[in-house]
């Protein structure tokens, strides 16, 4: 009996493995496992056996049944898949995989998000504001009086027949707006598009992006500003970079700074990008001028703060090695699709 079952099993396995079509496989399933199948017949014959043999042979017959069922199932899957699943049929592994089209965020968007992320981690709000702006918020409230050269028609786009309206020249336009809306203490950044009336070339464009930050609290100091700048730059470049602060002049801060970063291209040794100085000018910063605090409705005797602003385009150009600023506004897919 035992041998009969084993023989049956070997035959069945051999036949099943050779089957090339679902119909043939079905036939074999019926032949061995069907109601009148050969294995079924064996199982039926069990009750003729001696009592002591029954459990052993029964178990064997059941094991064989399970094994055959599993085998048939596997082969059935293979046949159904038409050779797609692990068959012995070789495929060309070097053929390209299926394409899943990913779109492309603008490189300015990518870097802007990274910057927003850095400041969010330091507890800054991420705000935006108007691009068509008034002289009041773009200049006057920032301690830039009517006689200041920045307000000339040379540098600023004004709107025809709308006296006092202009395209913002800096994201600093948000400083006083933000103070008015949120009061103090305050931590916020505002990034966005700014406009300068200047001839365009590979490194100048009439529209570009800035990121401005503002922190107002009690007893904010130069020491705090230095830390904020270093932390931010560490976040941007993902490593400790050499940073230096030197005097700079901006009407809406006092004292004012230029923040330089050790040139990443030449490691501070001097190259074309850093004009052989080893340093790249990156950020304008300073302690908020008391007149600006007052314009924002805050008492300069109680509150102090720091502000900083930087161009984003140049940062993106450095990051990706982009050599012409005008590409950002070109809408050229040969550019956009690289990001």
């Amino acid at each position: 009996m035992e041998n009969q079952i084993k023989k049956l099993k070997d035959e069945a396995i051999k036949e099943i493995k050779q089957s090339k079509a679902l119909a043939a496989l079905k036939k074999l399933e019926v032949k061995y496992l069907g109601r009148k199948g050969e294995l079924t017949k064996v199982l039926r014959g069990l009750h003729d056996l001696a009592e002591e043999q029954k459990p052993k042979i029964g178990q064997l017959a059941n094991e064989v049944k399970t094994e055959l069922e599993q085998l048939i199932k596997n082969i059935q899957i293979e046949l159904e898949a038409g050779g797609g699943v692990q068959t012995s049929q070789p495929i060309d592994l070097t053929l390209p995989g299926q394409k899943y089209p990913l779109g492309h965020l603008h490189p300015l968007t990518i870097v802007q998000r990274q910057l927003e992320e850095i400041f969010s981690r330091m507890g800054f709000m991420v705000l935006e504001g108007p691009e068509l702006e008034s002289e009041y918020y773009n200049f006057e409230s920032l301690n830039i009086p009517a006689s200041h050269p920045a307000r000339d028609m040379q540098d600023t786009f004004y709107i025809k027949d709308q006296p006092g309206w202009l395209l913002r020249t800096q994201t600093s336009n948000q400083q006083v707006r933000t103070m008015e809306k949120y009061g103090a203490p305050l931590r916020a950044i505002f990034s966005g598009r700014v406009f300068r009336r200047e001839a365009t070339d590979a490194s100048h464009d009439s529209a570009f992006y800035q990121l401005e930050g503002l922190m107002i609290d009690k007893d904010i100091s130069i020491a705090h500003l230095i830390t904020a700048m270093k932390t931010m730059l560490k976040g941007i470049f993902k490593k400790d970079v050499k940073v230096r602060l030197r005097p700079g002049y901006f009407s809406f801060v006092e004292p004012g700074f230029e923040v330089d970063v050790s040139c990443l291209l030449c490691d501070g040794k001097g190259c074309g990008v850093c004009k052989k100085t080893g340093w790249v000018e990156m950020i304008g910063a300073g302690l908020v001028h008391p007149k600006v605090l007052a314009a924002g409705g805050l008492d300069p005797k109680i509150w102090s703060g720091f502000a900083f602003g930087m161009g984003i385009n140049r940062l993106v150009m450095l990051k990706y090695g982009i050599d012409d600023i005008r590409l950002f506004m070109s809408g050229d897919l040969r550019f956009l699709e690289q990001f």
Binding site: G103, G129, L132, D161, S206, I220, P255
Partner: protein, 810 residues
């Protein structure tokens, strides 16, 4: 501005060990940005005096000659294009390794041996601009004719170029008129290094009374002080070599002793002045008045200038003689035979100077300084210094008049209270009082120690537009103390929790869905546009805002629709791509009251500048309309906005002019139109030579902001299995899918979803038929659906469709 180290050394003794590079770094870190340090000796390395021995025409080029140039013992072959070369001429021969500028363009390059039209050139005879000597030599049509030096001698030696020049970034001294001269900068350096600043040599002026000089300031708004006197016995000559060298190092061309002295004092004290030939000043009378509109005068540079009634003129009793503070008149300039001069040291209104200089495009060295607001006290010092130098250079001169001084300026007195605790808090670190007093003292501030506070009087040269509040003193102390000596500390701020930023969340979500989900590329376009783009879309320009001072015609208007620039992206990209999908998120500018106030009075508001999302898609594979429709549906579904479609099947009169009104569909929430999808009109495509359909879409970002949600609720998977039936029906072309879908859904509650999977026109069956194939999903939540039940529903569907739409089942 160029600062000569030799010049600075006249006023301070710099430590011997200090290099020019170190000094430049110190200045950059504490005061002003030094952009470059130029050592003249290095600058002119490998350049020698070359004597032309032979001139032969270049066989291959009409305009070139082949020269034999002798330098010391060597003779070089040099190809030259200049017309002014003659045998025996001594010029600047640049040998390989020299730094030269080609046609005065860009950065200097290292000269190498090269072949020019087949003939080797071993060097170059230089024109002034090619080696930065434009101030020293006239840039005529040719190379420098030295007229001095020995053949082979180093150029730096011949020209006395042994100076080191610091190039200062003019922008970084906008607020420091006192640093626009060597003496001011020397004073600053003395403060930084704690050096002694030498006094200027100033002789007492011995006034005369031979000439009765009259001064009348009529334009008081534009001229606050006018000092003048007459000097006689002048002999015009070249100025001494030492003065010429210093002027040259600072980038000013020497002319003659009198002109050079006025320039020298300007570069020394930052104080411009002017000298008239007394013969040309009628009646020894100076009148400062406003110009008449259209009035003309010829300036020193020989240009005739047409003036406006905003400009300020210095005149004699009959005619204009000087464009005040900007440039002298040609009619009264110093001439070789001038013997008597009238000096002018005036203070002009800085704003008016800037505007005049700008209007006339004449931003002279004098104008640059006047527009920074000059210390009125400098007029007197400048006058004395000029007279001292004139007397030194021409000992026989005499002052022939009284010192005339019409002074309408108020000398501002300023006293600033500096609290030391305030100072330390702003710096973020304690700076010892002794050090504070030391720094301010070295910067010429006068200090009264009141214990906790210092009473500080700034020097007169720092008063105008510079030092006025305690914060200004914080800067003075901190920068000299050294920003690098300040320990960085993180601010200690109270924890806070800002409101959720929906704006930012939506911005990111939308862009992620469009790029990662829909495969679109994000474009940024200018906020301005031109008439060409506006008319290409068939839009009127009249409702656009116009820039008052636009740069070019294609940036004249503010965009009113993102498509005004996207259309250009379409045109540009279609040249090389046939499948693309681009979008933009940006502001457009419409007339009407917006949300942003004009000022803190919150009474008037700026124009509307709402954000829109818009895009366009071109595809060879998909129908453009359905491509963008699917994109917008995907986006709105992901934002969980419960939208409905606008009216369908009717030609829209309110759709944008640039879309095909028959292929235009609105997306709405209630009655509000969120946006739309459409195809561009055929005429527009034809005009742009685009032979493909273009799907376009637009959504209001502001409305998305209002309606987007984050409210998904989980529903458990059905307990019982459902069934899917595939049906295909042929219906008249006029029947819409929406009607069929609606009908099928309403047939039974057990129908959960109806999904179209194929649609095509059926020519076989008749001209106006289309076939629609769809899946219908049946599900009973309470039990397993039987085939009999499902068949029944299917039959019901078929009957209804037959009856209602004359559908044929296929």
């Amino acid at each position: 501005m160029k600062i000569s180290l030799n010049w600075l050394k006249q006023y301070i003794d710099l430590p011997k060990s200090l290099t020019a590079q170190e000094l430049a770094l110190k200045l950059t870190m504490s005061t002003v940005e030094v952009e470059d340090v130029v050592d003249e000796k290095n600058r002119y390395a490998n350049m020698v005096v070359g004597e032309v021995l032979e001139i032969v025409p270049h066989p291959q080029a009409d305009k070139l000659t082949v020269l034999k140039v002798k330098a010391g013992k060597s003779v070089y072959q040099v190809i030259c294009g200049a017309g002014n070369v003659y045998k025996g001429m001594k010029g600047v021969l640049a040998l390989p390794g020299s730094l030269v500028k080609w046609h005065n363009m860009g950065e200097s390059v290292k000269l190498e041996k090269t072949k020019i039209r087949g003939i080797e050139s071993e060097g170059m005879m230089c024109a002034p601009s090619e080696i930065g000597l434009s101030e020293e030599f006239q840039e005529t049509d040719g190379v420098i004719d030295l007229k001095e030096g020995k053949s082979g001698q180093e150029i730096a030696e011949v020209l006395g170029l042994n100076d080191i020049v610091l190039e200062i970034d003019n922008k970084s001294i906008t607020n420091r008129p006192d640093l626009w001269g060597h003496y001011g900068l020397a004073r600053e350096i003395a403060a930084l290094y704690n050096l002694k600043l030498k006094d200027l040599k100033i002789d007492k002026i011995k006034e005369g009374d031979q000439v009765n000089l009259k001064i009348d300031i009529q334009d008081e708004a534009n001229c606050s002080r006018y000092m003048s006197l007459v000097v006689t016995g002048i002999k015009i000559e070249p100025s001494p070599v030492w003065m010429q060298r210093l002027l040259q190092a600072a980038g000013v061309r020497p002319i003659n002793n009198i002109v050079d002295i006025t320039n020298f004092v300007m570069l020394e004290l930052g104080r411009p002045s002017h000298a008239f030939d007394r013969r040309d000043i009628l009646g020894d009378t100076i009148i400062v008045r406003r110009a008449k509109a259209g009035e003309k005068m010829k300036t020193l540079d020989g240009q005739e200038r047409t003036l406006t009634d905003q400009m300020c003129l210095v005149c004699d009793s009959a005619k204009p003689v000087d464009l005040g503070g900007i440039m002298g008149g040609a009619n009264s300039e110093i001439k070789p035979d001038t013997t008597e001069i009238i000096l002018e040291l005036a203070n002009f209104n800085p704003i008016n100077i800037r505007k005049t200089a700008q209007a006339l495009n004449l931003r002279t060295e004098a104008a640059i300084r006047f527009e920074k607001s000059l210390d009125p006290a400098l007029a007197e010092l400048g006058l004395k210094r000029i007279v001292t130098l004139v007397q030194e250079l021409i000992p026989q001169v005499q002052v022939a008049s009284k010192i005339m001084d019409v002074n309408l300026a108020k000398q501002e007195e300023r006293l600033i209270e500096l609290n030391l605790d305030f100072l330390n808090k702003r710096v973020g670190q304690n700076i010892p009082k002794k050090e504070v007093i030391g720094i301010l003292g070295r910067l010429s501030f006068i200090i009264k120690d009141k214990g906790e506070t210092l009473l500080v009087t700034p020097p007169s040269f720092r008063v105008a537009k510079d030092i006025s509040i305690p914060e200004d003193l914080v800067e003075e102390v901190a920068r000299v103390y050294g920003y690098n000596n300040i320990q960085a500390i993180m601010p200690e701020a109270a924890m806070c929790f800002w409101e959720e930023n929906h704006n930012l969340i939506l911005n990111r979500k939308v862009k992620d869905i469009l790029t990662l989900g829909c495969g679109a590329a994000e474009a940024y376009n200018y906020s301005f546009t031109g008439l060409k783009n506006i008319t290409a879309l068939g839009l009127p320009a009249s409702d656009h805002f116009e820039l008052a001072n636009y740069l070019s015609e294609d940036c004249k208007y503010l965009r009113l629709s993102l498509f005004e620039n996207l259309i250009k992206n379409l045109e540009d990209n279609f040249r090389f791509a046939r499948n693309f999908n681009i979008f933009e998120l940006g502001r457009v500018f419409a007339k009407g009251v917006g949300e942003y106030a004009v000022d803190n009075k919150q009474q008037a508001f700026l124009a509307k500048q709402e954000r829109f999302l818009a895009g366009l898609a071109v595809s060879q594979a998909a129908e453009p309309f359905y491509q963008v429709k699917g994109l917008v549906e995907t986006l709105l579904n992901a934002l969980e906005i419960n939208y409905s479609y606008g009216e369908q099947g009717k030609i829209k009169s309110n759709c944008p002019s640039f879309v095909n009104p028959e292929r235009y569909l609105e997306f709405k929430v209630g009655d509000l139109v969120l946006g739309w999808v459409a195809e561009l009109r055929l005429e527009i495509l034809n005009n742009l030579n685009i032979n493909a359909g273009v799907g376009v879409w637009q959504l209001s970002f502001e409305l998305l902001l209002k309606y987007f949600q984050d409210n998904k609720k989980y529903r458990s998977a059905p307990k019982f299995p459902g069934m899917v039936y595939d049906l295909a029906v042929a219906v008249p072309a006029s029947v819409t899918w929406a009607e069929i879908r609606q009908e099928v859904l309403e047939t039974s509650k057990l129908i959960r979803r109806v999904e179209l999977f194929d649609v095509f026109k059926l020519e076989k069956l008749g001209p106006n038929l289309k076939s629609l194939a769809f899946h219908a999903y049946f599900l009973d939540e309470n039990k397993t659906l039987t085939a009999e039940e499902a068949d029944k529903i299917r039959d019901k569907i078929i009957n209804l469709l037959k009856k209602k739409f004359k559908a044929e089942i296929r």
